[in-house]
């Protein structure tokens, strides 16, 4: 008995010796990583879900479908749904209310269209740079057509002899001869194009752009709507839509007199000092009058105390009376009365229309209903008679079906994805939902579309307004590259999205601990880079890229002189993420910057992230050293020839995620 008591006493004493300092250490560890003092001490909250290669990550994983876009059969019975994460085209019977076929297509299918006869479906595979042609009689992939980089929106030509494919990553349009299956033409479009729609008269193809044309901070921003002549297959016009971006999709009224695009009107040039009064983002649509001078009128769908962010798709009923817009950031469909829009436009002077584009109350004149949906409504499709609206609820793995007459839910079609919601999936829903910003004004997606960056520079209003301009950074594949923020002050994502985030950005209640853990889990494990198929599809570098690699890794300049270690590219940008995770002053401080060193950014897929440097002053990679960096403090380049620089840039453009190395 004495022995037992003695052993018990020793164990308790040892336990206290370990527990007390252990708890102290654990508290310090958690406080440091979360930047708050009261996060619960649960190891599993963080460590179970933040390591992408851990066995727990695999256990917690689930194969969701994530429906993106929809096409409807001619008889309205079948719908065809691109399953973005399922790499499949799902065929669902709307009467039975279930999936009846699953067709494996390429990587990250984006859009689907069907031909007039209803015999073939075309599916754009955004991460495999091709289009799958699916026979709708036997649901087999009969052909795979090569496209440009990042195929997204699709349209058939009016004679259905050609397929138009919008290449979102290479910012161009592939025109494929369907008889031969060969690309006949490549046309340059606006920046990061996505949506495509042929006008009802078959004369013009409209292509929307998500990113604005690169411009210096302070210059007016424009995003292009590209118009292509269908018969000549030539560019007819680039229409600059001012102060707008994220123009995801476009639809025409049945008469073709109006084209309506979804869009976001950012306030990146306004100091980010408040969210009230639309100081960060507003959302709406643009109305292009095709007759007349082709002016574009922008109108908001927001209200003074409620915002409807991330408008994605738009469809217009066959009678031309109503437009349905999916607001993917707040889980609503906004219903717009088009006659009211026409009346407003015809009754307004140009000065008034200019006012209305920044007026939150004007939506009351034409928004007639908001239909609640499941998580992250994306693609929309109408039945041929226009009486039924299908909505792809991407993060619900479900299609909702609504009546366009009474705008009530008719049914939902479960696509058969996993029932459980993993921590990472929950985090993805949070990232795509504006519920954690004041009055739902914007979601993480709004500035980080597809978890990347929006190409804009913001006035984050640090100590004073107008100072510390900040180039949005990508969220892709950042788990191994802390710290975060351009000044490297956030050592973890938990801190980045924690209390300070709510104080200076979202301006509402911070994430709960559970939600913070979930969104951190998603950011740290769930966001991958697309393969760099544009510049480095196979890992085999071109000659220019190889030469550029030599330049990148050189230790001696062109005169044979030793380059100081701190001036070598590879010192601060070593593989595999091309960052040494440290902060430096590379002579890029602007007069409006506080005196800080900048965190070395990672460079994978850098070709897809203009503009460059912390304040986005370099529109291209080349400008980093031709307009700036001439003092050799951002790498020794003054001895380089133009060819050397060109090769260096080619090498930089070839950089890609280590996930694809050896694949």
């Amino acid at each position: 008995m004495k022995k037992i008591l003695l052993i018990a006493g020793v164990v308790i004493l040892l336990g206290l010796i370990i527990f007390i300092p252990g708890k102290k250490w654990a508290s310090e560890h958690v406080n440091y990583n979360t930047a708050i003092n009261d996060h619960p001490l649960m190891c599993t909250n963080c460590h179970l879900h933040i390591h992408k290669k851990s066995p727990f990550a695999k256990l917690d994983d689930a194969d969701y479908y994530s429906p993106m876009n929809i096409a409807v059969s001619n008889d309205g019975i079948l719908i065809y749904v691109t399953a973005q994460d399922g790499n499949a085209l799902l065929v669902a019977d709307t009467e039975q209310g279930k999936v009846v076929k699953k067709v494996t297509v390429g990587n990250k299918p984006h859009s689907v269209i069907i031909d007039k006869a209803g015999k073939k479906a075309y599916v754009s595979n955004q991460w495999s740079d091709n289009v799958s042609v699916v026979d709708l009689d036997n649901y087999k992939v009969t052909d795979t057509l090569r496209t440009g980089n990042g195929p997204a929106g699709l349209s058939l030509s009016s004679d259905e002899k050609f397929l138009y494919v919008v290449n979102s990553f290479s910012s161009d349009l592939t025109i494929i001869d369907l008889e031969s299956g060969i690309e006949r033409k490549r046309l340059t479009t606006g920046n990061n194009p996505t949506g495509a729609q042929l006008s009802p008269d078959g004369e013009e193809l409209y292509v929307t752009s998500r990113r604005a044309n690169t411009a210096h901070y302070g210059e007016s921003m424009f995003s292009d709507l590209t118009i292509i002549n269908d018969s000549s297959k030539r560019i007819k016009a680039y229409l600059g839509v001012q102060s707008a971006y994220l123009m995801e999709n476009v639809a025409f009224t049945p008469s073709g007199d109006l084209a309506i695009v979804t869009l976001v009107r950012p306030k990146n040039m306004v100091p980010s000092i408040q969210v009230e009064r639309g100081f960060m983002m507003t959302h709406g649509f643009g109305v292009l009058e095709r007759k007349g001078d082709g002016r574009i009128i922008q109108l908001l769908t927001d209200e003074p105390n409620a915002y409807y962010p991330d408008p994605f798709d738009i469809v217009i009923t066959p009678d031309g009376k109503r437009a349905f817009i999916s607001n993917s950031g707040v889980n609503f469909i906004t219903v717009v009365d088009i006659d009211s829009v026409r009346k407003l436009i015809s009754g307004s002077t140009p000065e008034m229309l200019s006012l209305w584009s920044d007026h939150l109350g004007i939506s009351s004149r034409y928004v007639i209903k908001r239909i609640p949906t499941g998580a992250n409504p994306k693609g929309l499709a109408l039945s041929p008679d226009g009486k039924t609206l299908f909505v792809a609820e991407r993060l619900e793995d479900r299609i909702s079906v609504f009546s366009t007459d009474n705008m009530e839910t008719l049914k939902t079609i479960n696509l058969g994805g996993p029932r459980k919601i993993t921590v990472t999936r929950k985090g993805r829903k949070l990232l795509n939902n504006a519920g954690h910003t004041f009055q739902n004004q914007y979601s993480c997606y709004t500035c980080h579309p597809d978890e990347h960056e929006d190409g804009l520079v913001y006035n984050m209003a640090s100590i004073d307004m107008g100072r510390n301009l900040t180039n949005t950074q990508s969220l892709r594949d950042i788990s191994d590259t802390p710290p975060f923020k351009w000044n490297g002050k956030n050592q973890t994502v938990f801190k980045q999205d924690g209390m300070r985030f709510s104080t200076v950005l979202t301006r509402t209640e911070p994430f709960s601990y559970k939600n913070l853990d979930a969104i951190s889990s998603y950011i740290l494990t769930g966001i991958k880079y697309p393969p760099n198929l544009l510049f480095n599809p196979s890992g085999k570098l071109t000659e220019a890229q190889n030469r550029g690699k030599i330049v990148f890794e050189r230790t001696k300049d062109n005169f044979g002189k030793e380059i100081p270690e701190k001036n070598r590219c590879v010192t601060c940008h070593p593989a595999p993420y091309f960052t040494n995770l440290k902060q430096f002053d590379v002579s890029t401080l602007a007069a409006s910057d506080d005196s800080i060193a900048f965190d070395t950014p990672h460079l994978n897929n850098i070709y897809a992230s203009p503009p460059y440097l912390h304040d986005g002053r370099a529109k291209t990679l080349e400008e980093i050293w031709t307009l700036y960096g001439k003092d050799d403090r951002h790498g020794l380049t003054s001895d380089m020839t133009k060819n050397d620089l060109n090769d260096l840039v080619e090498f930089l453009k070839s950089l890609r995620s280590p996930d694809y190395v050896n694949k």
Partner: protein
């Protein structure tokens, strides 16, 4: 802060589902909307709890030991009640808290000035109105917050307005009836602001001559209900609703066809309100339910011939508003104000082709004197660093110094607050254009000029 404990009754037990109301004399005097007398301060009033499941049972007196007690408010977990009360005749009104299970009462405030209209803030602090004697800001009644035990008293409004009948919206902001009292008495409006007093802005404005009478109550379907008098000079008070999404333009009078006087509203289930109502205005008020869809008065729930039943609240759990972060730092003595374009104005119309004469400068006007004249930039923008917690107005002037617009409403900036305006006296539904204003490309202009010499802590927000 001293506190005293009063054990009112020893009865324990949950009060969930009960209705607590203020009992007041039928003839309680003409309401004074500046001093709050006979309106927010109801002399010899008391609080009682009524059980709607047992309507024949006499209401339980909750504040028998108080000379006056009114303005009840229930916490979101329905365990606590706040109210305003005088223990003895002539005492200043204080804020009190009651544990609804034990009925134990705790004094929260202890000051020589009157306090009333308490409300629970989502961070656990208390919001209330307090009168201020000899106030250099000429405010009369300002909004304050404090901890639940009365410590850490913080004033949050700093303009010459009175503030009464505050409540908290689900988005976490405070909403209160506000009326200018200096240099002249103005029309009442509903103002919203964050619980730290930042980002104050107009929420609702009635027609000229109306009085806003009761706390605004938000329902789960996004409406705010309150009582508003009409401007006919008579005694009629109606229930009005506005939509949270667009409050300035969605006013609906729900009881224009119902004769009599409404005193207060409180949400019941969706589509129903608990209202205090008198058919004639001279008779006592009784409790009724009201159908907001049909706009009809429902059944009478409780009445008394001895007193009016006012300010009823239901003891039940309800959604807790969002807890908003604060940018206020009291070690910082100033705040920043940015206006994008002073020519953007609500005074524009189709008649003047939506444009205003170009303004060249602004004058910042304090309570007693001018605080400075500042030239605006060519694009109409200005950027100021102002002393915190100091009320001011702004007027715009042409190149000759003639007034073009304003002075507008009183504004204040809290320590370390950064505040933005789209224009000057602009349409409240306008958002800023997306452009890089000239004014913020330079340092702010300090107002008054002596603030330029203040050495203060610099706070980095991002």
């Amino acid at each position: 802060m001293s506190s005293s404990l009063l054990l009112v009754t020893c009865r324990k037990g949950s009060m969930e589902g009960m209705i607590i109301f203020t009992r007041a004399s039928i003839k309680s005097g003409i309401p004074d909307y500046v001093t709050g007398n006979s309106w927010r301060y109801l002399m010899q009033s008391s609080l009682a709890a009524f059980d709607p499941e047992n309507p024949d049972r006499m209401p339980e007196s909750l504040t028998g030991n108080f000379f006056s007690a009114c303005s009840p408010e229930i916490s979101s977990d329905c365990k606590w009640m706040l109210f305003a009360g005088q223990q003895k005749q002539g005492d200043p009104w204080q804020i009190w808290g009651m544990n609804l299970d034990t009925r134990k009462v705790t004094q929260i405030t202890s000051a020589s000035e009157n306090s009333t209209d308490p409300a629970f803030l989502p961070d656990g602090r208390i919001l209330f109105t307090r009168s201020i004697e000899n106030d250099s800001l000429k405010s009369g009644h300002a909004l304050f917050t404090c901890n639940a035990n009365g410590t850490n008293l913080t004033r949050i409004t700093f303009n010459p307005h009175v503030y009464f009948a505050s409540s908290v919206l689900l988005d976490g902001r405070v909403i209160a009836i506000s009326k200018q009292v200096f240099p002249q008495i103005g029309n009442p409006v509903m103002m919203v602001m964050r619980p730290d007093g930042t980002k104050s802005e107009l929420f609702y404005k009635g027609n000229d001559g109306v009085e806003l009478f009761s706390r605004g109550r938000e329902t789960s379907d996004g409406k705010i209900f309150f009582v508003e008098s009409d401007n006919s000079g008579g005694n009629k008070k109606s229930i009005v609703s506005v939509n949270y999404n667009r409050p300035l333009h969605t006013r609906i009078n729900l009881t224009s066809s119902v004769p009599g006087v409404f005193y207060s509203v409180f949400p019941l289930e969706p589509g129903k309100l608990l209202v205090s109502y008198s058919p004639s205005g001279s008779d006592s008020c009784a409790l009724y339910d009201f159908d907001t869809e049909k706009r009809t008065l429902g059944k009478q729930l409780f009445s008394s011939s001895d007193y009016s039943v006012l300010e009823a609240v239901v003891v039940r759990e309800h959604e807790k508003p969002k807890k908003l972060p604060s940018e206020v730092d009291t070690e910082v003595k100033t705040g920043l104000l940015f206006c994008q374009n002073i020519t953007v104005s609500g005074l524009t119309s189709p008649e003047n082709n939506y444009s205003m004469p170009v303004a060249y400068s602004i004058e910042i006007i304090g309570i007693d004197s001018s605080l400075g004249v500042v030239e605006v930039k060519e694009d109409g923008s200005f950027y100021l660093k102002l002393s915190a917690d100091m009320p001011f107005k702004i007027k715009t002037m042409d190149s000759e110094g003639n007034t073009l617009n304003g002075p507008g409403s009183w504004i204040w900036i809290r320590p370390n607050e950064r505040r933005g305006c789209v224009g000057c006296h602009e349409d409240h539904e306008m958002v800023p254009a997306n452009r890089f204003a000239l004014a913020v490309r330079n340092q702010p202009v300090s107002i008054p000029v002596h603030t330029a010499g203040i050495r203060e802590k610099e706070v980095e927000l991002e």
